[in-house]
């Protein structure tokens, strides 16, 4: 079953720049998909439209049964509750502890305290940060902060995890650890879409790879078929 179904999506910014041209794309439940391409090819715009940070100018984008193009501003939270997002710059609440940062995503639903505690501990265990509950983000390394961000993104069991260059700020070893965590999450059933520049990671993971160029899908490599291409 398709989790994401994009048909003839087009995005023209107010400045007149067209970022995405008539893009068609289907992503199945449980897939792990890399989106690669040179700077300005529309990667960021594409995933921003998936979590409705941007609206498509025309066309249809359906994520988990929700038509993103028709989603009202005040109803965006309904989509966001099905999606976890991880960024290059982590975006943690600086003045909250690791535990609070992760628990926050559950508290807004009004979940009972015991359940929140159970789930936060479980997810922090999964990303390997069970012993840093009371630390503040600035007391953590980059890799650890990214793990907290991943924990926050998956704590409410989203169908889809969107990662925008999650390893962009990390060294090779830490990046590899983060990729292990993401792979683990994917194996537990969460669909993952990851934008990256890091070709080493893409090669190593042997997943489906979508190559964008000038707002269009240039190539769609099946799982494991991506080799060291020039772009």
């Amino acid at each position: 079953m398709d989790l994401i179904n994009i048909r003839k999506a087009k995005k023209v910014y107010k400045t007149g720049v067209t970022a995405i041209y008539d893009l068609d794309l289907k992503i199945k439940k449980g897939e792990f998909v890399f989106i690669i391409g040179s700077t300005g090819c529309g990667k960021s715009t594409l995933i921003k439209m998936l979590y409705r940070e941007e609206k498509p100018t025309s066309g249809q984008i359906i994520v988990g049964g929700i038509d993103v193009a028709k989603l009202k501003n005040s109803k965006v939270y309904k989509l966001r509750r099905q999606i976890g997002v991880v960024f290059q710059d982590f975006r943690l609440l600086e003045k909250s502890t690791v535990y609070e940062n992760v628990a926050f995503a559950l508290e807004i639903f009004g979940a009972p305290k015991d359940e929140i505690h159970k789930r936060v501990i479980k997810v922090l265990e999964l990303v390997g940060l069970k012993n840093r509950l009371k630390s503040y983000p600035n007391q953590l390394s980059g890799g650890e902060q990214q793990r907290v961000a991943i924990a926050r993104a998956i704590v409410n069991g989203p169908k889809l995890l969107i990662c925008d260059e999650p390893t962009g700020n990390l060294d090779e070893e830490t990046s590899s650890e983060i990729m292990d965590v993401l792979d683990e999450i994917n194996k537990l059933g969460t669909t993952i879409i990851m934008v990256t520049h890091d070709r080493k990671i893409v090669k190593k993971m042997k997943k489906r790879v979508i190559l964008l160029d000038a707002g269009r899908v240039l190539k769609d490599y099946e799982e494991g078929t991506y080799k060291n291409e020039s772009i």
């Binding site: 997002v85 975006r91 305290k113």
Partner: protein
């Protein structure tokens, strides 16, 4: 149950937030404190001026002097007529004997002169002292009384009373406008300060949206935070107003410059003012936060 849990967490988070963003909170709190102090001073001033005006207005009396030839029967008629006038709050009859006796008692000089008078020689006249409900219509009422039969002369401090009434009216209007505009300015100033402090937390709002917080989820903690800031900001003005006014009242024995200008009794006056201050603080704090957050939710 769920709603209470969410509300409880909102209260906890907004309280924490006040302390975690301490320097920004202090900016908002001190701006609330300073403006509320000015508001409080103007409330105290304008209420006292008003109170003074009311007291003076209460003191104004129409004095109607009755012809000496008037019989008891005719005096009764006058009394009945005064009684039927609409603008009359109360009246009192003073016979010439009462007035003479009072004056003799009050001073030896009067005593020496007046004791020699026979009943016919006594130039003092029977009088009615009339207090009115609406001081602005005192002139009309005085004319009506003056037109009654056997009423010789009517006095009420013509000219002066009208001027006084005009002055009080102007003072009242000015003080009302001042308080109202001060409250507006306060609201604007504070909401802008809070807006700036919240602007610095744009990322936080972005993250809240990202993890699936609805607009209401985001607004409520910020609005509650504004409420706390309002309460915290009104503490110092309340203390200064209450103790300051009580000290002032005590120091001047409840009157300013002359016994004529009476200050309002501090109790319950300062409690009312404190209540008003805390309400303005809360209102303005909440409005400020709400305005500020709303801006960041239009994405």
């Amino acid at each position: 149950m769920r709603v209470f849990r969410i509300l409880g967490r909102n209260i906890r988070d907004s309280f924490k937030s006040v302390f975690r963003n301490f320097s920004l909170s202090m900016a908002s709190i001190s701006s609330i404190t300073i403006t509320l102090l000015v508001v409080s001073i103007s409330i105290v001033l304008s209420y006292n001026v008003n109170n003074f005006a009311v007291l003076v207005e209460k003191d104004v009396t129409i004095v109607a002097f009755i012809e000496n030839e008037a019989t008891d029967e005719e005096l009764k008629q006058i009394e009945e007529q005064i009684n039927t006038l609409q603008n009359v709050e109360s009246y009192e009859f003073q016979s010439k004997e009462d007035i003479t006796n009072d004056m003799i008692k009050s001073s030896d000089i009067f005593k020496n002169i007046m004791e020699g008078w026979s009943l016919d020689e006594n130039p003092i006249q029977n009088t009615f002292l009339v207090k009115v409900t609406d001081i602005e219509k005192i002139g009309d009422t005085a004319t009506l009384i003056g037109e009654m039969e056997n009423v010789a002369v009517v006095k009420y401090g013509e000219g002066m009373v009208e001027q006084l009434v005009k002055v009080f009216e102007v003072v009242e209007k000015i003080s009302l406008i001042m308080v109202a505009s001060l409250i507006l300015v306060t609201a604007f100033l504070i909401s802008n300060t809070i807006k700036i402090t919240i602007f610095s937390r744009k990322t936080e709002i972005g993250i809240m949206r990202l993890v699936g917080a609805s607009n209401l989820n985001i607004k409520i903690p910020f609005i509650l935070e504004g409420l706390f800031l309002g309460i915290l900001g009104s503490i110092i003005p309340i203390i200064i107003t209450s103790y300051g006014y009580m000290a002032l009242f005590k120091n001047f024995n409840g009157q300013l410059f002359s016994p004529f200008i009476k200050l309002i009794d501090p109790s319950p006056f300062v409690y009312y003012v404190s209540g008003v201050l805390i309400l303005i603080g809360i209102f303005v704090g909440m409005i400020g936060s709400w305005r500020a957050v709303r801006k960041h939710l239009k994405i």
